[in-house]
């Protein structure tokens, strides 16, 4: 009896409170011309130079806008960033006005309705036309531009000049030559990995898939399978044993190359400082990652960060102004000099290329055409569920064949798109 009573009471309580779970108040921005402008930027392993450039920008900004203070907060790039941004969308009181964010996260943030549409602002901005069309696309969802591309990161093939010279090898011109050289190096120098590859290095594997004609949405197509096969073939004892390499992330392959344990690596322009600080310093060169055809370049992923203005910002025009200052040519160039961040403005990039030959292979890669992940909230899901790493690891550890693993991954990708 008693149990029945309690159950009844429970039901009554439930029906009292059974309204939908709460949602955040709908965002309403403002346009105050004074006060504190809050800015979120990403923390970096070596933040001091970034901080210095940003401080300069703040000085210039506050001198031009009396009565305005700029407050910078550095937020982590780890997955914790998602929590920070979600918190900012849910609670306008703790949200910034301007924020730096990774362009792969954009679709999810746009779907959540967190960022303001800047299409008109960027069109009115003289320097706006200088942003490449490919890049602007990576900041656009459903025809609306949600940010100013601030800098990009491009990956290319780093190789050890001393090892290549000793073994009489030439920098590879095709993917086939690349795998052949990698195996030869491993054979003749068993202490070295030929090409550092990782089972969790999504953006190292994708160029192989793209070059073969596949894509993330069609992972089980014959073309994509060819690319997946080419990459996972490298995750074997004759190049990079799965025991050691199956769980490597992109960052770990940088460590391997920098510490001199790998003869080649697929590293970004942003990894230069890390390599220069390691054992490989001064003994390496960079070429674009070759494609399967002689002289072609495998399409690289154009990762990078954008600057956006929050929808619920109370200082909309000030925020846009600050974004345009920090994302303008002068400060993009300064950021390159400080951090090695590749500018998004074509004219700034061209000027730097003329000055610094290190950039050439990366810019050649950009010129050959870059690719991007699907601009859809589904990508965040695919990324978080580790769909592509799981596929690579299953093949590398022989838990599944290329056919099985790619079928499974394609199903997961489809499911991610289906529910969003």
């Amino acid at each position: 009896m008693k149990i029945l009573n309690w159950a009844a009471a429970g039901v009554a309580l439930l029906s009292l409170a059974a309204c939908a779970p709460s949602t955040a108040p709908s965002a309403s921005g403002g346009d105050e011309k004074s006060g504190t402008l809050r800015v979120w930027l990403f923390d970096e392993p070596n933040r001091a130079p970034k901080e210095k450039v940003v401080a300069e920008a703040i000085k210039e900004f506050t001198a031009a806008n009396a009565g305005v203070k700029v407050e910078i907060t550095y937020i982590p790039t780890t997955p914790a960033r998602h929590e920070k941004f979600k918190g900012a969308f849910n609670d306008p009181a703790s949200a910034p006005d301007v924020a730096e964010y990774g362009n792969t996260d954009l679709a999810e943030y746009a779907a959540a309705g967190g960022f303001a549409d800047l299409s008109a602002d960027l069109q009115a901005w003289p320097e706006g036309k200088d942003v490449g069309a490919d890049l602007l696309k990576s900041a656009t969802v459903d025809g609306k531009v949600y940010g100013l591309p601030w800098y990009i990161g491009i990956r290319a093939l780093y190789y050890r000049t001393d090892v290549f010279e000793e073994l009489g090898l030439k920098p590879p011109a095709t993917l086939e030559q690349l795998t052949k050289s990698a195996r030869e190096i491993r054979k003749k120098k068993p202490d070295l990995y030929g090409l550092a590859v990782g089972g969790e290095y999504t953006f190292g594997a994708l160029p192989f898939v793209w070059d073969a004609g596949g894509d993330i949405e069609t992972l089980n197509s014959p073309e994509a399978r060819k690319g997946v096969q080419a990459y996972t073939d490298l995750l074997s004892d004759d190049n990079c044993p799965p025991q050691a390499c199956a769980s490597l992330t992109g960052g770990k392959t940088v460590e391997l190359f920098a510490s001199g344990k790998a003869a080649m690596g697929i590293l970004g322009n942003f990894s230069r400082a890390a390599v220069d600080a390691g054992a490989a310093a001064g003994k390496y060169a960079v070429v674009p990652l070759p494609g399967s055809k002689e002289g072609s370049i495998a399409p690289a992923f154009s990762g990078g960060n954008n600057l956006g203005v929050m929808k619920n910002s109370q200082h909309r025009s000030l925020a846009v102004k600050f974004m345009e200052l920090l994302g303008g040519k002068a400060y993009q160039t300064k950021m390159y000099e400080a951090m090695g961040n590749l500018p998004t403005l074509t004219s700034a990039r061209d000027e730097l290329a003329a000055k610094d030959s290190f950039l050439k292979p990366f810019l050649d890669t950009v010129a050959a055409g870059t690719r991007f992940v699907p601009i859809d909230p589904a990508w965040v899901k695919i990324d978080n569920q580790k769909v592509i790493p799981t596929m690579l690891q299953k093949i590398a550890t022989k838990q599944a064949t290329v056919e099985q693993a790619t079928d499974e991954a394609a199903t997961a990708v489809k499911a991610a798109f289906g529910r969003s």
Binding site: P21, P25, G113, T397
Partner: protein
Amino acid sequence: MTTVTTAPADPGIRVRRAASRKGGGLRPWLYLLPSAAVLLPLFGYPIYMLGLLSVFDYRQAQVSGGQPTSFVGFGNYATLLGDGRFWSVLAQTLGFAAALVVATLAVGAALAVVLTKAGRIPRLLLSLAAMAAWAAPAITGSTVWLFLFDADLGLVNQVLGIEGFNWFYDRWVTFGVVGATVVWHSFPFVMVTLYAGIQAIPGSVLEAASLDGASAWHTFWRVIVPMLRPLITIVVIQSIIWDFKIFTQIYVMTNGGGIAGQNSVLNVYAYQTAFGSSEYGLGSAIGVIMTLILLVITLFYIRALYRSGEKL
């Protein structure tokens, strides 16, 4: 033996009976009121919210107001139960938790007996070591063990002379190392509880057993274990709950589920679903299912225990 096992339980039963005879049905509830006032808001509300979220299509877009929230009934549960990955992770979690409970109890009980037999100094050292393991936060302990088993620089590989061996490559080896870490974290509670229990057993009982010619092995299984039954119940239920909900060690040591997710457990899976993929509704459904499983296991265990208690 019958008298031995029921004797400690007897006074409690008598008190309970007396209370219900005198104060009617109300008084026990009155006594429960203070703890209920604390526990209900602290546990009731989150569980209520968990259940509520689990019947809604509730993702990031809904939380921040970009899209309207919609009621999907048992849709999230249907998605989950139709997902092969959920079932394999569930089976894996149950197996891993069962092995951990057995291992923790075996290690804890063995060391509790060792404590009673050891001299003063060894006992002190063992207690200190156990307390240190107990006091170490799960994330710290996991990180330290991770370093110990590091492929290139780890102490274990250097001592064994197998540098480069990756302990986190094979599924079962990984579970072994992570399991050892979990047991290391949780055996002190078992050990201390059982040690206290053994200390409370009257010396005369053990003396009588040895006079009857019982070996140490027999004394343990036939005298100590039955007398410790109430304590063992608590320890087992605690261990089941802890080990079923295991999260930190797996998350830290296998980088969120190991190679191709082969070492994932239910709690890590729920976290990745709810917070990684921002599927709060679906994640809540996993939480509800976990709660139900734990309730069922615990209820069955308590019932089984009372039954066998009556028989004895």
